[in-house]
């Protein structure tokens, strides 16, 4: 060993001897962290750019040792609080700090403005009410979006017509939006007194918002309610599907690229009720069984990390024809024939422009053409001239667009502003019993501007303030609709909200154009809500008052019921309860809703103010779902009750309208049951997946009377009942390349 090496070794020894001295010269930094309410656990404390620090214990205390010396930054941070930093100088003495953190407004903690709204979807933020699987496993819903929404409070059990009748409003007062744009013909065309189903599958949507009042200024042209549907973004994987049922067949293919940035798909289905109607006797005598031939196509492109372009289209052709005994002429038959061609296209785009700005745009185009033939026939099917005979070809061409930007402000606050344009052309040919065709065309352009602000004052108090300005070209009038709502957190999982808003819509196309100047129909909502939401449980109570003004009044003008003025009015008041619990009983999910409604109105040809025939005083639903693991089967049960609805016949005495008859229908009861057998439950990652479904609507065959229909002279009346009391559906749905087993099961767990 050279001398040099020995020297080096000694030198190193010196270092090693001194090193522990530095290590032992430690200083303790300790203290306590709290907010306004008290000590904060799990807060992280660190000396910036060193390894030293600690987290607070359950009493907010912290303590750590450091051998650092000099100027440092003490960083204190906790999720939900504004970060705290302090410059400190470490010398020889121990240091102690008392730190108070200020709460930051965060999505996790902040109150959500919810008055009037049911929000559904898998969002982190609470508020989940109905998912698409909830919809398909609701026994009474038959996999129909609006049927499932009828099990929530607010909606009436109107079965003789499609649409949602919400809080004393007509079906025309509820508007449905897909990806922001208005959908004009959401339901299949149907015959009078037979309700049409929705055209859109619940699996298209990831989120459903059912707002029964007080909704955002982003939505207009709806006096009562808005159903806001958000389509799914990118499917999880490439799949092929096949469905077979007593009602028809469907097949589809959906492709997703490997990077999950592009997907496209198409499917086709053919539905024919012939087979079902052979077994389940219908009230009507069909010569053409209802048949629907329908195709869908879609694509989705991820335009950036946050951007998404989505396209969806629907092409359908449907027809049916039946005869039933005429109510007007005994021994004669009424023939009704309908053919429908429908095209729908929807294109939407959303994108974040930088961290603060967000853009949403959507356009939709609809072309809906009906051919309706209604005639009186004798028992040998020979045509008989009658004043109710007609042939019509109503065509609707609709174009809707909406664009808005959102700018994030401090905390969660944000402002949104944009515009909406709705074009409609309802045109066609109407040939009455005299045989002279009349052409008509009603064009409407509604242009709207809207602005809305979310203001978060604290985590516990938030407000949504908005206003909407609309112009209608047919009415040549403007309206301005302010909307205000507040939410206040009353407890960890409880909150109270209030909402106020004015809502306008133009009269339905059938009252336009009018010889008399008309204006917008108007409704004013006042809503108060109390909501408790914890994991797997929701309780909601709501009271409201709704005032109707400027409703259409009609009169007999040259033999035809036509709009005369906007002198109609009315109001609705009520309260509603909703309770959903997935927690108490394992594997059992149930919800209960109750609706009390007190409404009167004087509109159309009503002689005086009365409760309309679509409003029942009491409505209640119970929906129960469970999944039995050992037999791989889900059981779903639902019961719906509605007290009797008013019915009446309005006739013209030569000078004015009068009620020739009035009464109440019997109470309505419906018990429905469905089961899904999922044999692939036992297999891990099966290549294919199958669900067998049996569903029985009105299982106890209870007679349901929706109302009464009157002959033209008021002399005869007949109950309006469903085409068949009970309905049974049996089907099998196959899916290849994907595994939906877990969805089906876990939805029921």
């Amino acid at each position: 060993m050279t001398q040099f090496a020995v020297f080096m070794k000694k030198l190193l020894c010196v270092f090693h001897v001194f090193l522990p001295v530095f290590v032992f010269a430690q200083v303790t930094i300790s203290g306590k962290v709290a907010d306004k309410k008290g000590p904060l656990p799990d807060v992280s404390i660190s000396l910036k750019d060193t390894y030293d620090g600690a987290i607070t214990d359950s009493l907010g205390h912290f303590s750590f040792k450091t051998s650092e010396k000099g100027k440092f930054t003490l960083v204190v941070s906790s999720v939900g609080y504004k970060p705290f930093e302090e410059e400190i100088t470490i010398e020889k003495t121990n240091l102690s700090y008392n730190i108070i953190l200020k709460e930051a407004i965060t999505e996790m903690k902040a109150v959500v403005v919810t008055a009037g709204t049911f929000e559904a979807g898998d969002k982190k933020r609470a508020g989940v009410v109905l998912t698409s699987l909830d919809i398909v496993t609701t026994a009474s819903a038959n996999a129909d979006v609006t049927q499932a929404l009828k099990t929530l409070p607010g909606a009436q059990q109107v079965g003789e017509q499609e649409g949602l009748f919400v809080r004393g409003g007509t079906a025309a007062e509820t508007k449905i939006f897909i990806d922001g744009t208005l959908v004009n013909k959401f339901f299949y065309s149907s015959a009078p007194n037979i309700s049409g189903y929705g055209r859109f599958s619940p699996f298209l949507f990831k989120g459903t918002v059912f707002s029964t009042g007080g909704y955002s200024a982003l939505y207009g042209q709806a006096l009562s309610a808005a159903v806001i549907l958000e389509s799914i973004d990118m499917p999880d994987r490439t799949t092929a599907t096949l469905g077979l049922s007593v009602l028809g067949i469907d097949a589809g293919y959906q492709h997703v690229n490997k990077k999950k940035t592009v997907s496209w798909g198409a499917d086709y289905n053919y539905t024919n009720l012939g087979l079902a109607y052979l077994v389940i006797k219908q009230k009507q005598d069909y010569f053409t069984y209802p048949g629907i031939s329908e195709g869908h196509a879609n694509f989705r492109i991820k335009t950036s990390k946050s951007g998404m372009l989505k396209y969806y289209s629907d092409y359908s052709f449907s027809n049916f024809g039946f005869r039933e005994p005429s109510i007007d002429s005994i021994g004669y038959l009424n023939l009704f024939k309908l053919k429908n061609v429908f095209i729908y296209q929807n294109l939407s785009w959303k994108e974040n422009l930088g961290p603060k700005w967000k853009v949403n745009m959507g356009v939709s185009y609809t072309n809906n053409q009906d051919h309706v033939d209604n005639r009186l026939q004798n028992s040998e099917y020979g045509d008989v001239s009658f004043f109710k005979n007609f042939y019509a070809e109503p065509t609707g061409i609709y174009f809707n667009s909406k664009a808005y930007v959102e700018r994030k402000l401090r905390g969660l606050s944000a402002i949104r502003f944009g515009s909406e344009y709705n074009f409609s052309n309802d045109k066609g040919v109407f040939t009455g019993f005299l045989g002279t065709p009349t052409n008509y065309s009603v064009k409407e352009n509604i242009t709207a501007l809207f602005a809305e602000g979310d203001v978060y004052i604290t985590n516990g108090l938030a407000a949504k303030l908005g206003t909407r300005l609309e112009h209608s070209s047919t009415l040549d009038k403007f309206n301005m609709a302010p909307r205000i709502s507040f939410a206040y957190k009353t407890g960890k999982s409880a909150q109270a909200s209030v909402a106020y808003g004015i809502f306008y819509q133009t009269p339905e196309a059938k009252y336009l154009p009018s010889a008399n100047p008309l204006t917008f129909l108007k409704a004013t909502h006042y809503i108060a809500q109390y909501l408790v939401q914890s994991n797997q449980r929701v309780f909601r109570a709501e009271v409201y008052y709704k005032k109707y003004e400027e409703l259409i009044k009609t009169g007999l003008i040259s033999g035809r019921d036509a709009a005369i003025n906007n002198n109609g009015s009315g109001d609705a008041r009520g309260f509603e309860f909703f309770w959903r619990d997935k927690k108490t009983v394992k594997y059992l999910d149930y919800w209960i809703s109750y609706t009390y409604l007190d409404t009167k109105r004087n509109y159309l040809n009503f002689p005086y103010e009365t409760t309309p025939n679509f409003a029942a005083k009491h409505t209640a639903s119970i929906v129960i779902k469970t999944f039995a693991l050992p037999i791989k089967t889900g059981f779903n049960l639902s019961y719906t009750y509605s007290s009797g609805r008013p019915y009446y016949n309005i006739m013209w005495d030569g000078a004015k309208y009068y009620f020739s008859d009035k009464g109440f229908t019997p109470d309505y009861h419906n018990v429905s049951f469905s089961l899904n057998y999922v044999p692939s439950v036992g297999k891990q990652n099966p290549r294919s997946f199958v669900v067998y479904v049996v569903s029985i609507n009105n299982i106890f065959n209870i007679k349901q009377t929706y109302g009464y229909e009157y002959s033209y002279n008021g002399a005869r009346k007949e109950p309006i009942v469903p085409p068949s009391r009970m309905f049974v559906f049996i089907g099998a749905f196959f899916s290849f390349g994907t595994d939906r087993t877990q969805d089906a099961i876990n939805n029921n767990l």
Partner: protein, 223 residues
């Protein structure tokens, strides 16, 4: 000569200092990495996660501290949830989500420093499972496939990573048989993992090498 000695001393001094730096990192890490496998107490694991975070923040270029921070956070939460008697963690998204958010934040930092890393994808799968357990009813659709995919990627990046097989085995073990779980298959997967450990060489003393203890405990339990 004096000049040479001085230069030598100076050089030595500098190298010792820089070695000291990475020694400091190595030492700090080494003492903690060992604890990842041994600590079974949620609070201590959370302290450990915070300690790893501080090291990561101070070092700025090391992925390992953030990786371990995320791992400890997930483990702490899993222990917390199962110890609380809530063995089916199904109804606690209010607790599991904030933890998953924290873990994900750290893991993203780790991934930014080390791309295409099999170990990071393993923890990704663990976070997806944690999220799923918060509300399985509504989340199977999203987090089931997301976790599966993360594990697939981890396997693609390094099929010899034993921790992939541990997670597969645990999935098999805890899934009820009706859902496709199987104790036998689980055992096979644990054994597979054990085999992988025999040949697996971590890059350094502080690189991921956890899991062996768990495999042995599980296999002992299954006998």
């Amino acid at each position: 000569m004096k000049k040479i000695i001085f230069a030598a001393i100076a050089t030595l001094f500098v190298t010792t200092m820089s070695a000291q730096m990475s020694d400091k990192f190595m030492a700090a890490m080494q003492s903690k990495v060992g604890m990842v496998d041994s600590i079974r107490d949620a609070n201590s694991l959370k302290d450990l996660a915070a300690a790893f975070e501080r090291i990561g923040d101070a070092e700025k270029t090391q992925w390992l501290p953030y990786y371990y921070a995320a791992l400890c956070e997930v483990n702490a939460t899993n222990i917390e949830m199962t110890n609380g008697g809530a063995v089916d963690m199904g109804n606690h998204s209010d607790k599991t989500d904030p933890a998953a958010d924290r873990a994900e934040g750290w893991l993203n930092k780790a991934e930014a420093l080390s791309k295409d890393n099999s170990e990071i994808f393993v923890v990704k799968k663990m976070i997806a499972t944690l999220r799923l357990m918060g509300d399985p009813m509504n989340r199977y659709m999203t987090y089931g496939p997301e976790g599966g995919q993360a594990l697939e990627t981890a396997k693609k990046l390094n099929p010899d990573n034993p921790r992939i097989y541990i997670l597969e085995a645990l999935d098999k073990y805890y899934t009820p048989e009706q859902f496709g779980g199987s104790k036998d298959e689980s055992k096979q997967l644990f054994q597979e993992a054990l085999k992988k450990y025999d040949t697996y060489k971590p890059e350094s003393a502080i690189h991921p090498n956890w899991g062996r203890v768990l495999v042995n405990t599980m296999l002992a339990q299954m006998k």
